[in-house]
């Protein structure tokens, strides 16, 4: 990858923010603040995982919640079997990666909606199957037997969020990133230029799934108990796609804005109207698709640069948000 085109200021900013977030427990941040930072990192990691595949190629995945859930279950089951922490995390990531190959093999050689259907049903199937299996604790769930210090999964999640953001920057700056965007723009034309679209899509879906699996694994360590109806609910999948869509799809920093908004909206709704979560997220998404289809960050940046109302073409404003 041509890392030379990577914006060094953006890279430095990401590393500094990540390091500051990781150092928060040392400078005496309150537990509430730490949890907020943790959820920001969790949403950002999930959002970047989705962004890397669906944001870049236009193949929408509804299964990122399920992939994260598989990572969580595999990691906690491995830990409970007495395996060391690092190996359990590797197993969690590998399980999510393997699942993505199963979804991808059945649907990614097809164009259009087949992939989205395959992910939608994967999500529904994993919930049904996990509830059935005795090994996964069935509907009653699965506790993590070993107690980990809470800062450990927090640190892992912050590192993962920062690394996935840097990975997204690197992909955007590389020729591979341009190839992915070409698939999104016009797959037939991309194929005719010699872009191996089926292989690229499968590769990036697998990378994306490994990232989601890691996010799930760390979240499983953080919550320390897994209930299938929570872990495999559609909400995690909605978060994974809403964060980059609201913030700015196929950009490196859009998801950060999206994750910030998600944490803020979540906290606000906890206080004023806990029942309205889906309504607000749904309405936000509808508004973004209607009025700023390239997302908050590209639209805002585009407006600032242009100094006039309205955004430029989505492609042009996406360039600004690199």
């Amino acid at each position: 990858m041509a890392v030379a085109r990577l914006n060094s200021y953006a890279l430095a900013a990401t590393i500094i923010v990540g390091a500051l977030a990781a150092a928060l427990p040392l400078i005496g941040a309150s537990r509430y603040q730490l949890v907020l930072v943790y959820y920001f990192a969790y949403y950002l990691a999930l959002g970047q995982a989705w962004n890397l595949m669906s944001g870049m190629t236009g193949y929408v995945s509804f299964a990122h919640g399920a992939l994260a859930g598989i990572g969580a279950y595999a990691t906690v089951m491995a830990m409970n079997a007495g395996l060391p922490l690092w190996l359990s995390i590797v197993i969690g990531a590998a399980a999510a990666g393997l699942s993505s190959l199963v979804i991808g093999a059945t649907s990614l050689r097809l164009r259009g909606i087949a992939f989205t259907f395959a992910t939608l049903f994967f999500q529904a199937l994993t919930l049904l199957i996990v509830r059935k299996l005795p090994e996964t604790g069935g509907a009653a769930g699965l506790p993590l037997q070993e107690i980990l210090p809470i800062w450990l999964p927090q640190l892992f999640m912050i590192v993962l969020a920062a690394l996935s953001t840097i990975l997204m920057m690197a992909v955007r700056a590389s020729r591979t990133g341009t190839r992915l965007l070409a698939i999104k723009g016009d797959e037939a034309a991309a194929l005719s230029l010699g872009i191996a679209s089926a292989r690229l899509k499968l590769l990036f879906f697998c990378i994306s799934a490994v990232l989601a699996g890691l996010a799930g694994a760390f979240h499983g360590l953080f919550t320390a108990s897994l209930y299938p109806d929570v872990v495999f609910s559609f909400d995690t999948s909605i978060t994974a796609l809403a964060v980059p869509l609201i913030g700015g799809v196929a950009t490196a920093f859009g998801p950060a804005a999206g994750a910030l908004l998600f944490v803020g909206v979540g906290e606000l709704l906890q206080i004023i109207a806990p029942g309205l979560h889906h309504v607000v997220i749904g309405a936000l998404l509808v508004a973004v698709v209607l009025f700023m289809p390239s997302g908050l960050v590209p639209s805002t940046v585009g407006r600032l640069r242009d100094g006039r109302k309205g955004e430029r073409s989505p492609a042009a404003s996406r360039e600004f948000a690199r």
Partner: protein, 292 residues
């Protein structure tokens, strides 16, 4: 476990009821995909709308649930028209990702609204036909029978409309070739709105009927929608005969598997059929991609 002829007949009757409801859902999905080229992820919310409306009419006001059927159709068609004008029609002019995200976002919004206003309780009512009758050892509930009759009547009506009415001709023309249809003087916008409106009205009727034989929750429509998607993929996206054949197949399969194993396994096997279809016959069991 002995399998008697009566048991087989009973399972077939139960399967036909589920198949009829799936048929109404899949008919709408196929119509929307054929005419508008959008996969309507918000279709389930209109099923839920019809179900809650009928529950309010029958459970709240104590009237006959059959009033819920036309009420569901009219309100579904009206809201569908508005949704197509305000949301989906606008997103359609952009890349396909936008219209997909639009229908999905609308489904999140709808699910949120239903959960907020009705809570998570299971709703049912006692008004309307009750009891059942026997025919050669097969027990058919009066409610199930009315569901079956309405599904068949409505399905026949829609197929007649598609085959012989001018509107049906316009639908088919748009499904075949938009530009050619426009150059023949068909009002594309109005036809799309009518197609969405009709499809969503059918979904609301399916919801009204579902509330008659089952319980209503905020996610009842989404559960049926998943099976509706299996049906349209098996039948071939956008194919109306395929959707009806698929609905019958899945209905019977669900009924038999639900008896032989249990409802979760019936669902698991149904969903796996979708993967099998994508792997072996992505164009669907019946023929070509966008035939109607």
């Amino acid at each position: 476990m002995s399998v008697s002829p009566t048991l087989v007949l009973q399972l077939i009757v139960n399967g036909l009821v589920v198949g009829g409801l799936l048929g109404l859902v899949a008919l709408g999905l196929a119509l929307i995909f054929g005419v508008i080229r959008v996969v309507n992820f918000a279709h389930g919310e209109f099923i839920t709308l019809g179900a809650y409306l009928t529950w309010m009419i029958a459970g709240g006001l104590g009237l006959s649930p059959f009033i819920g059927i036309p009420a569901a159709f009219l309100s579904g068609a009206l809201i569908g028209w508005i949704v197509q004008v305000l949301f989906i029609g606008r997103a359609m002019e952009r890349p396909p990702l936008d219209s997909l995200m639009m229908t999905y976002s609308l489904s999140i919004l709808g699910l949120g609204l239903f959960s907020f206003f009705f809570g998570g309780d299971f709703r049912s009512y006692s008004a309307g036909p009750n009891g059942d009758f026997n025919l050669a050892g097969v027990t058919i509930g009066l409610r199930s029978l009315s569901v079956l009759v309405v599904c068949i009547a409505l399905g026949a009506l829609v197929i007649m409309l598609l085959r012989s009415a001018r509107l049906g001709l316009a639908f088919r023309a748009l499904a075949q070739n938009r530009d050619a249809a426009a150059s023949c003087g068909i009002n594309i916008r109005a036809t799309e709105r009518l197609a969405f409106s009709l499809a969503v009205g059918l979904a609301a009727v399916a919801g009204a009927l579902i509330s008659l034989i089952g319980t209503t929750t905020p996610s009842v429509g989404d559960d049926w929608l998943l099976e509706g998607f299996v049906v349209v993929v098996i039948g071939g996206m956008g194919s109306i005969p395929g959707a009806l054949a698929g609905a019958l197949l899945i209905g019977l399969l669900q009924s038999i598997l639900g008896y032989a194993l249990d409802d979760s396994w019936a669902k698991i096997i149904t969903y796996l059929l979708l993967y099998l279809t994508l792997l072996t016959r992505p164009q669907g069991l019946l023929g070509r991609a966008a035939e109607m």
